[in-house]
């Protein structure tokens, strides 16, 4: 009986912690459309989850994360900047284009079928891709998704080591397709905005350090993997952090020029994915 009080206190503490987390994160989970429940609550009455375009964030299994990597914990790298970056980007997308976009993001993975199947969302965004891992079926599904007309944008990984780890996953998807540098001539930089003057978009560390790079990723690289017709299937934003730029765009300390370029790049990538 002497243990009853500590056990009760522990349970109470656990329950409170869980409740606090749920309150903070909005009670994540998915409805029948695969939409985040918190998002629907937050935007209740707006669009009812049915729109032409849904900003889709790829949920993957992170390397070394064990079971926890496939979740919402702080070590879950797929959800970096999520969901504020997504939603602020969607505000810009709806404001600046005629795309009928759902105001909340859609989380997709390579294991689900049914309404939340990745094939129902032909444009997907992935971050911290240096940590992603694929099983063979997942890699095959991603490959076929892209060859059928899907589009993948990867962001927020920096330096040579991250690139190497990113390529470990990418080579499972496309063992033979080369990664090419995207140049000013590529249509992806002109589909809506002409983006010939591009520069490194830093993460929020710039506010405190003034440093635009992370790790050894000094030079921003806009790269891509193309299909047989020269269409970009995978748009790779290496050595930059567009997600942070969207997330911190409403912070007066974060420079407008970085946020502006990040929005334009993202919008161009979405528009390209919807037209090519």
């Amino acid at each position: 009986m002497r243990l009853l009080a500590p056990i009760s206190a522990l349970l109470l503490l656990g329950g409170l912690s869980t409740g606090l987390l749920a309150f903070q994160r909005g009670g994540y989970g998915e409805d029948e459309f695969g939409n985040a429940r918190e998002a629907r609550t937050y935007y209740s009455g707006d669009e009812n989850g049915k729109s032409e375009y849904s900003w889709s964030r790829l949920r993957y299994t992170a390397a070394g994360a064990g079971g926890g990597g496939y979740g919402y914990g702080r070590w879950s790298s797929w959800s970096r900047d999520y969901p504020k970056a997504d939603r602020q980007f969607l505000i810009a997308l709806k404001r600046l284009t005629r795309i009928q976009a759902r105001p909340v993001e859609q989380v997709v993975d390579l294991d689900s079928d049914g309404p939340s199947s990745i094939e129902n969302f032909p444009w997907v965004y992935a971050v911290q891709a240096q940590t992603w891992t694929f099983t063979e079926p997942e890699a095959k599904r991603m490959r076929e998704y892209l060859l059928k007309g899907g589009f993948l944008m990867v962001d927020d990984f920096h330096g040579a080591t991250d690139w190497e780890h990113f390529m470990n996953g990418m080579l499972m998807v496309f063992p033979d397709r080369p990664v090419e540098d995207l140049t000013d001539k590529d249509e992806i930089f002109h589909v809506l905005y002409d983006l010939t003057e591009r520069f490194q978009v830093p993460g929020e560390q710039y506010v405190s350090t003034g440093r635009t790079y992370e790790k050894d990723g000094y030079i921003p690289e806009w790269r891509g993997i193309k299909d047989d017709r020269g269409r970009v299937m995978v748009a790779i934003c290496h050595n930059m952090h567009l997600g942070d730029a969207w997330e911190w765009a409403d912070d007066p300390r974060y420079p407008e020029k970085f946020a502006s370029l990040a929005f334009r790049l993202g919008i161009n990538y979405v528009m390209y994915g919807m037209t090519h």
Binding site: Y53, E119, M271
Partner: protein
Amino acid sequence: MFEFLFKYPRAVFAKGDLVLLGGWPRWVLVLLVLTAGAGLAWLIRSKLPQASPHVRNWKAGIIWLLQFALAALLLLLLWQPAVLVAELRPQQNIIAVVVDDSRSMAIADGGATRAQQAAKALDGGVLDALGKKFQVRLYRADGRLSRIAKLDDLKTSPPASATRIGDDLKELAGEAADLPIGAVVLLSDGADNSGGIDLDTISTFRSRRIPVHTVGFGLEQVPHDVEINDAVVAPRALADSRLAAKISFHQRGYAGQKAMLTVRDGGKVLAGRQITLAADGETQNETLLFNAGAAGARTLQFSIDPLPGEENKDNNSVSRLVNVESSKRRILYVEGEPRWEYKFIRRAEEDDRIVSIVSMLRTSENKIYRQGIADPKELADGFPSRVEDLFPYQAIVIGSVEVSYFTPAQRELIQQFVDRRGGGLLFLGGRASLADGGWGASNLADLLPVVLPNRKGTFHRDPATVSLTPVGADNIITRLVEDPAGNVERWKKLPYLMDYQEAGTPKPGAVVLAEMTAGNRKMPLLVTENFGRGRTAVLATGGTWRWQMSQPLEDQTHEQFWQQLLRWLVTDTPGAVVASVPSQMLFDDGRVQFSADVRDKNYLPAADAHVQAHILGPAGTAAEIDMTPDPNSPGTFHAEWTAGQPGSYLTEVTATHDKDELGRDVLNFARMDGVAENFHTGQNRELLEKLSAETGGRYWKPQDVSRLPNEISYSEAGITVRDTKELWNMPIIFLLLLALPSAEWLLRRKWGVV
């Protein structure tokens, strides 16, 4: 038997008039007959009370009838009945004996060839019998009527490639105008390549009262044969198009058996499949799908492989010409907002070397993103406002765009694009499409193949499953699998659409090819209609892209559907010059009439154009002919020409106006000699019977033809004499005079009233 009973041939009664030679008035005969009838009736009735109860019913009526018939017959004989009939004067008339000597008469059914059977029929005493009464002229019919001295001359001449009974008889009718032809005897199998006998020829014989007696040869039904009736395929196609040919055929003797149906281009098999043959004599229709291949003039051969024991293998295949064009077709696709359907339609069409999409997409409020443009100026000012900017396209696709986006002038231009220019117009479903885009209340509502709902909120982002209508199962747009039943099943298995739009009610004349189901509601998905010179369609969804993303990578359903739909939209869009011939296949007759529909740059009829046809044919044949305008149809030009040799001909029609070229068109046709004779090889008894019945002659079977010389005398043509044939001494009269009282007596005995 007939002549035994009635003394005279049947023709006497068929052609003669009944007369009464007795001097008393006819009304007296009628009166006496009626009186006799009434008297007999009174007599029988007055005796009925004393008669046996057995005959107080209908039996008394029978007795009265027999007595009355006997009395009436006796009275009639008193008035001396006779037949007045025109009869050919002996030795003063000509009997024209026409022997069909076409290729089909060389078919041996029944041991000897039909021509041999005809010669034998004539040789067996018929010619001699005719010769005793008339002058006989022998003719050989082989497309040109020629006189022969004797039957042996038939054997020495090669059989002709064609039969034109109508033409031969017309020639004979012309000859008969100067000759005392009393009758015509035609020995034929009735096979005619020119489509039968025209009314003019028949009326010529009728007006001269010349009977045409026909003697039919050949089996009326070939016991073991497969024959292709027709193969219908579009005469024009775009390169790499999927073509559908409808082949109709019939067979006898092979019901339920399997056969191979193929289409070949030269020696190359384009497509083929096994079919199961239907019941004997039943017309069977099958469809073959095949790729048109590269540009050029194609002679396609549709055939059913010969079956064991088949008697005529030459009618197992037919040829058709298809002109495969390589000219590029451009579709203007207007999309009001970025959406997945736009992207995936463009991707589906990217492999098409002929059809390309030029698109304008409203990406933001102030920007239009153009793809597929030929030069930077194209569509730079948005949707075209001038004829010369819009009419170069062959079709328009309107996506999720509200009607108010277009100015009144642009809307009028769209209407004219379909109606006058003959372009295709496809409306897609979307949140600013159809009823939700205000199209139903616009002047362009007429163009739609549906009557749109009179409300907004018709577009739903909810799943809808798809299915084909019976028409869609066999349509080139919706054909994903060749077998119609398999096609229906394939459509049922397609992934659901991402969204759907209520398109309303199909208009009369519209064709619903596919439907969709959302919840318990079934709605039209794909509806097509011809409008003016063009065609319109509604695809009431913006969600077919799931067919691409949700099916295996190698699946081509989405691409195939869109390529077929867009090719349908543009294939029949005419150029400024459209040349045509009534039939591309000329059988044994080289006469051809060209027509051309010529339009100016605004696609208005160009009545003052200078139009020429340049013809290239086999063995260096070349001709250039001016085409003359049709006074009743502005912009239409005609020319006649004769293809002298068998083979393929290529014709290019060019139109100019003040040295400016308006346009040009190419068509091909072929003359094939000796092919048509291989078809319809059974005896065409219907044609022969019709010919003889219409002219007052008679159809004869070969075994009955020995009686022909007797009957042929009764004709009103040539030099005739009116002859009176008395009837009182016919054996039938004598038999009746015996039979009527005998029958009465026998009945009375049977009923016990003697």
